[in-house]
């Protein structure tokens, strides 16, 4: 579904990604783990069009999207939940979700999806009219995911959904991620919390300073000595 080949990206003249390649197949949860600052977020930002690659290509459903602007990429079916959630703090919860469905015109279907999101996140249903900035961190993360789902993505890019959340809240969020995947959305998940990411995902990639150094099934990575030492703290 998603095929990234020899992708390099940089800010000014500093190269952040050095020829990384990865694939995500339909129905999978794939995770990209690694420590802070190795280029995980940059990878997602390049896929969703916020950054332009300097070399390499990104194919989504056999279409080259490496130079498509971000708003067009959403229309193709990729939705990106950015790091730090980035909900619109001065819009209401409902308006945030409406903006999530910005590219769509099918009003009836949007209403259905709205209901569905409310079912997945009952906490948000109670707070529809509240401005999003007043939500707790966990609720904001839910809203960010719900907002991304409103565009009916085929591929969901999640950037550090566990960031800054209490452990119990993190567990809840990851249960929801699994559920969303079961309902048919493919997921590319970037995480620093390797433990929970590998327990959620089917496959994983390990990143170090702009390069992918390992890729395997999630179970295999959980058993891998290198991964256990560096990322699982064992």
């Amino acid at each position: 579904m998603l095929r990234v080949e020899n992708l390099s990206t940089g800010y000014n003249s500093i190269r952040v990604l050095k020829q990384i390649s990865l694939t995500v197949s339909e129905g999978e949860i794939v995770t990209l783990i690694g420590s802070n600052g190795v280029g995980k977020t940059t990878t997602l930002r390049t896929i969703s069009g916020l950054l332009r690659p300097t070399e390499g290509s990104i194919h989504f459903c056999n279409k080259d999207i490496s130079h498509v602007p971000p708003h067009k990429i959403v229309e193709l079916g990729i939705s990106h939940v950015p790091e730090g959630r980035n909900i619109f703090p001065r819009l209401s919860v409902r308006e945030n979700l409406e903006i999530g469905a910005y590219t769509r015109k099918d009003r009836l279907e949007i209403k259905k999806d709205f209901k569905k999101v409310m079912e997945i996140f009952p906490q948000l249903a109670k707070r529809q009219k509240q401005t999003a900035g007043t939500l707790s961190g966990g609720e904001q993360q839910m809203l960010a995911i719900g907002r991304a789902l409103m565009s009916r993505p085929r591929l969901l890019l999640l950037d550090e959904p566990s960031m800054g959340l209490a452990p119990l809240v993190v567990l809840g969020i990851f249960e929801i991620i699994k559920e969303v995947n079961r309902q048919g959305t493919t997921i590319l998940l970037v995480e620093q919390n390797a433990q929970i990411a590998l327990r959620t995902a089917h496959r994983g990639y390990v990143m170090e300073t702009g390069r992918i150094i390992l890729d395997d099934s999630a179970e295999a990575l959980l058993q891998n000595d290198q991964v256990r030492k560096a990322y699982l703290g064992e």
Partner: protein, 290 residues
């Protein structure tokens, strides 16, 4: 006397509010002081005047066409002078804006000369008197038009899909583009609406004072910006409130202090607001990021 001053202040203030909206909307989205906005206002006034005198158009048609012309002009200015500098340092964009302002001012001087020109009044001078105050038909029409425009804008921003996209873009541009919002399109729409409102203010001031000249945009332009800062830059209700308050303060200042310092009042208010509450009256919390 007091009620009369209040009414005069509100009339003046409603035109400041219309100008302030253009500044605040543009600043909210691209964080740029659109220095050419005062010139858009001036061109709006001239367009309205020319359409009414040379083409004998009725007032509503002239107003509407002037707004459309100014919208096209604002969009062009953005496209030529601001868009190429979107990723440049702020100072470069600001100077480009100043360049656009100087250019438009001198274009008007070239086209129409520096002498003030008459703006025909489309309405009969009919004055309504009461024991507290008097108000002319013209003044009522100016008030009604500016309030209709402000209500219309508020409705648009609050309820329509594009309005919501504008608010989202102002809050977080990158994330808005991840929602499928075409940022360039939103910026274009913002300039179009802001410029149209500025032109409406120009035409209303034109029929009120019955005169237009190429330099007429300078002071109202600066004061419109003061009104936007007073209300809280980036905030649409703030711009409306700021405009009205500035108009009232100015009229009161002229009535009770001195007419010579009329223009200084606005700037004194500006500095006081900046020093004590830079986020403005209904401003958003401090946005300066470390």
């Amino acid at each position: 006397m007091f009620v009369q001053q209040l009414i005069n202040g509100i009339i003046l203030g409603s035109t400041y509010a219309l100008i302030a909206l253009g500044y605040t909307m543009v600043y909210g989205i691209i964080e740029l002081i659109n220095f050419a906005h005062g010139e858009i206002y001036m061109f709006g006034a001239f367009t309205g005047m020319i359409l009414m005198t040379r083409f004998n158009l009725p007032f509503p048609a002239a107003l509407l066409l002037a707004m459309v012309t100014a919208a096209l002009m604002g969009v062009t200015v953005e496209y030529v002078a601001y868009r190429p500098l979107r990723r440049s340092p702020r100072l470069a964009a600001l100077i480009s804006a100043i360049g656009a302002s100087i250019f438009l001012q001198n274009l008007a001087l070239l086209l129409w000369g520096s002498r003030p020109q008459n703006f025909p009044s489309p309405f009969k001078i009919k004055v309504y008197q009461s024991s507290f105050f008097s108000i002319s038909q013209l003044e009522i029409i100016i008030l009604v038009i500016s309030f209709l425009l402000m209500v219309g804008l508020s409705f648009f921003i609050k309820n329509t899909r594009t309005g919501k996209a504008m608010r989202a873009t102002a809050q977080d541009r990158d994330t808005a583009s991840l929602m499928g919002i075409n940022i360039n399109r939103i910026i274009t729409i913002t300039f179009a609406i802001g410029s149209a409102l500025g032109a409406a203010a120009g035409v209303l001031v034109g029929i009120y004072f019955r005169t237009v000249n190429p330099m007429m945009g300078v002071m109202p332009g600066l004061k419109g910006f003061v009104a936007a800062v007073l209300g809280g830059i980036g905030s649409i209700p703030g711009a409306m409130l700021g405009g009205l308050l500035l108009g009232i303060a100015e009229v009161a200042g002229v009535a009770y202090i001195s007419s010579q310092y009329r223009d200084a009042i606005a700037f004194a208010i500006l500095i006081i607001v900046l020093l004590f509450k830079p986020s403005g009256l209904v401003g958003l919390p401090d946005q300066e990021k470390v």
